[in-house]
Amino acid sequence: MSALTLAIPSKGRLKEKSESFFAAAGYTLVQDGGERGYRARLEGADGVSVLLLPARDIAQGLIDGAFHAGITGEDLLHEQAETPGRQAVVIKRLGFGGADVVVAVPNCWLDVSTLTDLDAAGALFRQTHGRRLRVATKYMRITRRHFAKASFGEYRLVYSAGATEAAPASGAADMIVDITSTGATLAANNLKILDDGVLLKSQASLTVSRPADWTQPARTALGDLCKNLRLDHGADAFVAKL
């Protein structure tokens, strides 16, 4: 019976980088049942069991308290939590998997470079077309939260699970909120990012779950792990607040 359960991404670059992050502190990830198993352990960290899961499921598990800690994208934590930072607390941003959640509009909208411009454009659009500007995104909550904070109200959300950048050209939406690392895909689709259009700078983060079952052995195991990962400060602060 392990004291602490840790979830890390099950595939791709996020998985490789997570493995390297632990390897740098002398921990080796060993998967039960080989490459395809979803259970693993960290050799060198007694009492820690590892789950390999999609990053989205890790974010949800951290919010729900299904496991103690995990590595996932901040964009997912912000999108899936009603109040970001309340249930899932980032203790270390890991410097990989970096990307921005941005607002992008057609580059032919020469009058729009800020959200305030967009509000005026949206009001005129509603008068002219009898509907609100449609924003395609998979980040429904981040968008709503940020637009409310920026006093921008002239829009409607349209859920888009993928290829969001194509939505304005296809007519499925008028503009988008999406994640981008270089902006190249946006430019290729004739979209421009607003001057105040960066809603979130996201990267992969080691995150702990507040509602998880924090037994004394779990706290000790997290403390030990973080000491070896040279993250003493973040873990101490978190464990102290439990």
Binding site: P106, C108, T116
Partner: protein, 372 residues
């Protein structure tokens, strides 16, 4: 007990209605904006369309009235009363998702201080009859801030921007602060040009950067907005006096009996006293009539011109009656005027004044208990 709450509303006449519970989600979302999405109970129908349970009775009753008027019904006053369930995601966890509203919507009656006061008095009377004792009323008037904005010497685009910003949290301040900052270099280069001149500049820039138009938002709309932006650059920021006037009106919170005089003083300083006279007279007469006819919940009553601005239907007189202490955030009575809603919802096909009032029996019962 519930069966009696709506009794005072019967004096307005009209019929008891129970309109559609399920609405296309686009209706409340287009009308109120995305801020209401978190409150809607939504589901996807068999055609993959987003549907919502009615978040209140006002919207479906207004839709029914639009249909009636668009069908060529005789114009004139029409009252719809209801005692029916509405459905909302609670903001706080101890509120129910499903609750009853007892209320009325009144269309086509004269829009003046008498019907404003009568609406409040009916809700106050119903709450009193249902056993509410320790209630406190809050009043607002969502026509005042737009009225003040309109009277100030500002460009039409700035006025329109301020009226929109008024409805958003922190919006007016954000809008005024933005007015101070510089516009884009492209917009500054358009100052002094007429529409044709701006159109030429847009074509020039499209060609230079290889931009092709591909949006439902037309090039004509882009040019119209660029003209407004260039005009704002020429006129400069919102003048200090106008700014101060708007911020003072926005911040004002006072006993309702003092509201009209306080606002008259602000209007006088801004040099717009004559223009503001009618709306401030109405404000004064309305409250005088309310205090004569329904004094029950006025003890610690407050007035604020920004009260109720998040309720997107309303555009004039608004009020709430809530219990004291922890029940303060959960009004058991509410209402307001929405003279523009029918026109907006029907894209101008019909037009009628509208005002309504409602009681939440579940909240009233809780307020009564905690008041004991």
């Amino acid at each position: 007990m519930i069966t009696n709450i709506g009794k005072p509303f019967e004096r307005l006449g009209g019929t008891l209605v129970n309109p559609a519970i399920v609405l296309p989600a686009a209706l409340p979302l287009d009308l109120c904006g995305e801020s209401i999405r978190a409150r809607l109970i939504m589901f996807t129908d068999h055609n993959n369309q987003d549907m919502a349970l009615r978040p209140d009775l006002t919207l479906p009753v207004a839709l029914a009235e639009i249909e009636r008027l668009a069908g060529g019904a005789v114009r004139g006053e029409q009252v719809h009363r209801y005692q029916a369930r509405a459905f909302r995601q609670p903001i706080i966890s101890d509120e129910p998702m499903e609750f009853v509203q007892v209320g009325f919507e009144r269309f086509g009656a004269a829009s003046g201080h008498e019907t404003d006061a009568e609406t409040y008095a009916l809700v106050s009377e119903a709450a009193l009859a249902a056993g509410a004792r320790d209630g406190v009323a809050r009043f607002g008037d969502l026509g005042l801030m737009p009225g003040f904005i309109d009277l100030l010497d500002l460009s039409p685009a700035t006025k329109a921007g301020l009226v929109r910003a008024f409805r958003e949290d922190g919006g007016v301040k954000a809008f005024l602060d933005r007015s101070d900052s510089a516009a884009s270099a492209f917009v500054r280069g358009l100052a002094g040009l007429d529409r044709d001149g701006i159109e030429a500049k847009v074509a020039e820039r499209y060609a230079a950067e290889g931009i092709e138009h591909f949006s439902d938002r037309t090039t004509g709309e882009v040019i119209t907005r660029l003209m407004e932006q260039a005009h704002e650059v020429e006129n400069g920021a919102v003048p200090e006096l106008a700014r101060e006037t708007l911020e003072t009106v926005l911040r004002l919170q006072c006993p309702p009996a003092e509201a009209a005089d306080t606002l008259r003083t602000i209007a006088r300083k801004a040099g717009i006293e004559a223009g503001a006279a009618d709306m401030l007279d109405r404000l004064e007469l309305r409250y005088r009539l309310i205090s004569e006819t329904a004094p029950q919940f006025l003890g610690n009553a407050q007035f604020s011109p920004s009260f109720g601005r998040r309720f997107t239907y309303y555009d004039g007189f608004v009020f709430e009656i809530a219990g004291t202490g922890e029940r303060r955030a959960h009004p058991f009575g509410a209402g307001g005027r929405y003279d523009h809603l029918l026109r907006d919802l029907s894209q101008g096909r019909v037009d009628a004044t509208a005002i309504g009032g409602v009681i939440r029996p579940d909240r009233l019962a809780l307020a009564r208990e905690s008041g004991r």
